[in-house]
Symmetry: C5
Subunit: 307 residues, 5 copies
Amino acid sequence: MMPDRVKQILSWYESDSPGTLANLRRIIGTGTLKDTGKFVILPVDQGFEHGPHRSFAPNPPGYNPHYHFELALEAGCNAYAAPLGSLEAGARTFAGEIPLILKLNNSDSLFSTKNPSQAVTASVEHALRLGCAAIGFTIYPASANAQTQYEQLNALAEEAKASGLAVVVWSYPRGEGLSKEGETAVDICAYAAQIACQLGAHIVKIKPPTEHLEQPEAKKVFEKHQIPIRTLAERVRHVVQSAFDGRRIVIFSGGPAKDEAAILEEIRGIRDGGGFGSIIGRNAFQRPKDKALPMLRKIMNIYLGKE
Amino acid sequence: MMPDRVKQILSWYESDSPGTLANLRRIIGTGTLKDTGKFVILPVDQGFEHGPHRSFAPNPPGYNPHYHFELALEAGCNAYAAPLGSLEAGARTFAGEIPLILKLNNSDSLFSTKNPSQAVTASVEHALRLGCAAIGFTIYPASANAQTQYEQLNALAEEAKASGLAVVVWSYPRGEGLSKEGETAVDICAYAAQIACQLGAHIVKIKPPTEHLEQPEAKKVFEKHQIPIRTLAERVRHVVQSAFDGRRIVIFSGGPAKDEAAILEEIRGIRDGGGFGSIIGRNAFQRPKDKALPMLRKIMNIYLGKE
Amino acid sequence: MMPDRVKQILSWYESDSPGTLANLRRIIGTGTLKDTGKFVILPVDQGFEHGPHRSFAPNPPGYNPHYHFELALEAGCNAYAAPLGSLEAGARTFAGEIPLILKLNNSDSLFSTKNPSQAVTASVEHALRLGCAAIGFTIYPASANAQTQYEQLNALAEEAKASGLAVVVWSYPRGEGLSKEGETAVDICAYAAQIACQLGAHIVKIKPPTEHLEQPEAKKVFEKHQIPIRTLAERVRHVVQSAFDGRRIVIFSGGPAKDEAAILEEIRGIRDGGGFGSIIGRNAFQRPKDKALPMLRKIMNIYLGKE
Amino acid sequence: MMPDRVKQILSWYESDSPGTLANLRRIIGTGTLKDTGKFVILPVDQGFEHGPHRSFAPNPPGYNPHYHFELALEAGCNAYAAPLGSLEAGARTFAGEIPLILKLNNSDSLFSTKNPSQAVTASVEHALRLGCAAIGFTIYPASANAQTQYEQLNALAEEAKASGLAVVVWSYPRGEGLSKEGETAVDICAYAAQIACQLGAHIVKIKPPTEHLEQPEAKKVFEKHQIPIRTLAERVRHVVQSAFDGRRIVIFSGGPAKDEAAILEEIRGIRDGGGFGSIIGRNAFQRPKDKALPMLRKIMNIYLGKE
Amino acid sequence: MMPDRVKQILSWYESDSPGTLANLRRIIGTGTLKDTGKFVILPVDQGFEHGPHRSFAPNPPGYNPHYHFELALEAGCNAYAAPLGSLEAGARTFAGEIPLILKLNNSDSLFSTKNPSQAVTASVEHALRLGCAAIGFTIYPASANAQTQYEQLNALAEEAKASGLAVVVWSYPRGEGLSKEGETAVDICAYAAQIACQLGAHIVKIKPPTEHLEQPEAKKVFEKHQIPIRTLAERVRHVVQSAFDGRRIVIFSGGPAKDEAAILEEIRGIRDGGGFGSIIGRNAFQRPKDKALPMLRKIMNIYLGKE
């Protein structure tokens, strides 16, 4: 029987086909956090985004795409997300072992611009052919190119849903419209979550919000209505509320590699604020596996309420 | 039997299929203003346009997309208009309860430009799949991007009509070609209504026009032919005349939240000028429901000639 | 039996299908100038191009789209040309009463640029659905956007012809490549006619040419070969010759509203130069109908050789 | 039986279908130079490119599109090339009389830019419907828009070949990357021929090369390997070698009108250098027919080795 | 029976169809290096890229496209890669003689820009029609146009794979984001290999990396983790590791013509670093055949471990 919490989560996605719900169900029902409605996902697109040495030299087995499938499986993650090439390289060996999220757009750090975008580097058909449960897509709200990205996402998400796939959106505000500090401001993170939900995301990935408030008009509202944002838990709570009052799955990225204590502290904040989980990349695959697995276990224990 | 006023209104749409007329009929025939040929519609795209806190912190139940379906139903609105995500979140719970208008394009306030545009964030197929009665689309006449928007609208409207849907156009002049004051000038609002009609809109939404005249050539014409524009009613009359001599449904937006007396005064002006109704967003959903419902009732009573 | 002049005109269109020829035949065979090979066409796109008050305030019944169908019918015009919305508003009432030309692209005067273009605001399918005999399309030779417009016209004209419709091209040189005076220079008008013919137009609409010569290289040729351009008739003769030596229908626009004597004088020049007729908008619909009908009758009499 | 020279020429086109080879065969096998493997083609796109008076005032019968079909036929040309409108105007009268080349892109001289392009003004379907043997397409290597033009040509040529048509490329270097003198430099003309061959042209049209060398790196190579370029024959030989070592048909344009002696001198140079023939426009149709026919006869005699 | 090394290499391509694997198998199984898992490929696109004289004057038989088919065959290369025109010119004569790679995009040196791109000059259908085993495509990471190129490659590669073809990517960092020296920096070459793999390449072609480190963030990583890059072999090893830990075929270009000793020295470095082979253009076809064949033999012997 489907646990009540799973039924509840699926009930929020009122317009989706049984096919898409089945794939969401697979992600919910996989790994250590199975059926708890909490999530830890392994994403590895840094080879493309930052280059191979910056990504894998700290833990060289990571140069091999098989390593990340194995890491996600052994750690008990809910899903593994990566660009086309990485998934092609393990598709047959790990067929059906773990829900896969094909990242459909990517960028590199060889050319930079104040209004970033990403190239569409794979298709919904690729995702189907590789046996994925979902597509992943990055948007950069606040970039001059954001509207083009929204239109790309809209088309790809519609096609994905029509094919029974789920849609995961990386919503990372960035570009001319924002200060650097503003990229993780709590008002901006909440806005980014709202936009992803409006664009039809099933799962929204955002950065852990800071106490900074970026937009003057938003600041007035936060002050007038005394929205609490002092602790990470409070800020996460606001972001989750901004995602259809908690009726969409919102998970948080781990950011650059840091020490374990800092990570676990952050996870507790996310959990206490009602966040649905984490997507942990560099902090997982840049550690040797014998360090990464225990740490991921601790993270999962926090979400399970055991730590 | 179809009331005469309804027959008359439908008779204006000479090129439409029975399918599209049936959906217009549903909008005309719903709610408190049923079959009067008057309209009050609830639009909620502010989460996308202004961000979640600026939109919903004044009345936090609004964070939940279900709230707005319920508000529109309880208030007896003719229809509820919103972006993709908001409609997806209530599509099943409220299926068939109230005519829905899927807003097909949207923008956010994280990036601004003097020549605005909107991203196409949903499709006609989405509207059909969600059981909508109409699509909604914003154009910004006077923007350098207006021609591109007209072309998008043309393609989407043609597809919508071929699928039996109605077309609602938000015609909001904005951009390099206008002063800030000019955005609501009576000559500009009338021109905006005309453009929307020429592009094939069934229902045109514009802002209440001010007494300002923006274009020198238009000013000469208003003066020469002594077109009266001193009162809101007079200005509304000119705008309605500019919409195919009253043969298209023209409704007026409510604008930023303000006090009830000011709102009701404005509604009387619209009614007296022959306007077809209002589309009331922030003034409805940013009030607690027990304040919003009575106010919407008063607005409807004005259109019913009861106040 | 088909009159010889009609046979002759149709014989020029050597590549067209019987369907397209039948629609040309309908335009030739309609109204007061029926079967004479002369044309007076009513165009009303000024609501879109200049705004509703500038267009219709001088004669307010014109706010109603039905008025223009009636005016064209009562005046005995060969055809009525208008944008999508205007034709949609009368499509059923006037079905089959008069050949319709759907103007497929339009622009407004809320945004201006030195290199103008127009938005494509309707499709060939619209024209078929509305029972039109032809599509209309404006090009702006000398604009930086002209090549894009030629490509749009090429695609739409090919589709129209494949559907049995005729193609009417408004060829209005305008843009960075020309002085203001040059827009109606005789060398430029002749060039504009040639371009429209090369792009596959059946009927070409240009402005009455002035004596000005714009291009230095053209000026040399006019002088060397002593091409007469002193009178309007001479200039019209050159333009008609430039349209495949008279083997394409070339008609002339009426321009801004002016007094009747000036109009009739101009018409005589067009007739004497071998022009095929006129397309009279503002000078027709901005007069009260009881003034417009007699004037249009006089114009037609000139073409009939009666005045 | 097919003459050996014809067999040889056709053998170079190793990837083409019998349909395309049959159309090449038709061009080779038509007119005074029939089956010699030499070509004189009449092109008339100057009405579009330079305007009607500059093109046709010197010999006014040329205003009539029929004139050029007749001129090409009477002169014994291998083919007649023109834009859409010109071919449409004679398609039925001259059906099957002479191989036709539909010029698929064109530009006018009303707007100029340092990085020229051309508008695509007709389609492969047009060419088929008009009974053409080939499509024609202009590229401007050295323009910032050249890559876009290559992509357009690639798509149209693929479609043409799939439909059994041949492909003729006007390769005219022009744009920001070149000096004015460089447009006809021998290194540039040779490069232009190579590019057209690589893009899949069956017949390449270039300008007669001058002794100028444009690119410093090319100059070094010409000097080091002592490539002879002093006479036109030597330069033509280099260009022909650059077109797959003579395994593609390369013909040369005639350029602006000039006196007969100068023309014939140029033709002898082309012939002596192994050029395949000429494409003679203005020098043919801007002379009265009784002057043009004898001159074209002399040109053909040169190619036949009789003068 | 399939040799173990061949089985191993094919096993890395986990998502490919038997059709694509069969074409990879053909390339692996052809020529002197047959079934060794080493490769020497002849590419000839310099006629397009640098012009005919710069490319072929040093060894004039190369003007004839047949020459290069013969050279590749006689030298025992694994495959021959060229643009459309070159392959069309030999497709029938050499049908099935050697695996062909159709280069789908190309650029010339008549126009240069700091952010280069290439025109798409052929299609997957062309490759199938010409009997090719693979498509080739160049990307310029670090160019402002790189994202557009990634999207073109993504679409073409997906179509190629669906048709059973293999995909070879020339990954040449170039553009605003890099210094000239950085184009061959070891960090950049490794990054370029990674990007090509992520985009779905079966075979990646890069330039031999230099000791230079371009990106400050990468430099820190190379120093911290003491990645050896002093010798070419060490640098090649890093690049191969960066290509999915050696699970993709990475081959190296030969660069500008140089003396034989320098070439062979470089080949030994590539071999010692675990590189899969070379793609030798100018150093092969710009030498007389009686010099080129022995040199290519020596190169192959190095890969065979005989020199």
